[in-house]
Point group: C2
Chain length 165, copies 2
DNA sequence: AATCAAATTGTAATAAGGTAACAAATTGCA
DNA sequence: TGCAATTTGTTACCTTATTACAATTTGATT
């Protein structure tokens, strides 16, 4: 089955420069509305995540920030990453101890992550159905879901193709 | 809505001593079939998880093992925990950096975890529908799910009741 | 423009989580 | 008994994350 290119689909071939600049522009707009500031460290951090287009560890981000002239101590990276996560511009992937830029900020979402175990790219899938099944399974035990982490490890289409060859 | 007590439901009031001894007996039976050994450290580790009936960090488990006369070095705990996870007797909770005893071993499952943010108890919900929605959402992007982590944070019925009072 | 509080960034120190490598002991079996 | 395989113990170290506090920058206000 074919599928449409989509802003959350890191696996589909796409104009990555455009994808990045669009995400940055959206980030600026969103933050302006919230009255929060996209300072140089924060902006650079987001750019780093967007350029990589995959999940990165905090210390890897920290190295890149240091190269760009920012501080070399862990809190520099953790603070910027935390800020981005809080404002919906990045996500934290528990499974990998890592962070990735949000691929469609603004859509007030609680995404499902698809992590390719070969190329390490991360996509965000549409999660509504998954979430509603989760809530209903939880409801059977009287449990109220407030936040959920859904992360799948597997093969992206490109790597699956390479595997099969 | 009322719900039936269930082996995976840590939230429901239950005879915890029985719950523990049953889980231990099942573990022994399962391992015997697999030709694996429930050695003293491993057995004690499982008991520790079962007694707590919640997720525990590896270092917390290590302390308890040391009290019981086993080694005090991290690998002692990590090896025992890894063994239990590999044999389906315990789970690793990414979100908490922690481990919990499996509440229904044998049912060859890929569970969904419900973690109460107040009392820290962990239950396992029936996951089939969640998993199938996840696979289908992933399929739309051409992604093949191999393993998935689904962890929900929220309120268990007891803590929700206390909150409302 | 000068001032001040709030927000942000920098740095040091350290806690918490996890693994690699190898030695010693134990187990199961020929 | 003797030997290989498994398990346990220990050392050393690596990665991830947080606390605490100082220095700086920003924006609002006079």
């Amino acid at each position: 089955m074919q599928h449409e290119p989509d802003q959350g689909d890191a696996f589909a071939p796409h104009d990555h420069a455009l994808c990045q600049s669009r995400a940055l522009a959206e980030a600026e707009e969103r933050l302006r509305q919230q009255g929060a500031r996209l300072t140089p460290v924060r902006r650079r951090t987001l750019e780093i995540l967007l350029e990589a287009h995959r999940a990165m560890g905090a210390y890897e981000v920290l190295d890149r920030l240091a190269e760009a002239g920012f501080g070399r101590q862990p809190p520099v990276a953790y603070r910027a990453l935390e800020f981005l996560v809080e404002h919906g511009l990045a996500h934290r992937l528990q499974r990998l101890n890592a962070f990735a830029a949000c691929l469609h900020p603004g859509e007030d979402h609680a995404p499902v992550f698809l992590i390719c175990r070969v190329c390490d790219k991360v996509a965000e899938a549409h999660a509504a159905n998954v979430r509603s099944e989760l809530s209903s399974a939880a409801g059977e035990l009287g449990f109220t879901v407030e936040r959920a982490t859904v992360e799948a490890l597997g093969l992206c289409p490109a790597c699956a193709g390479r595997d099969a060859e």
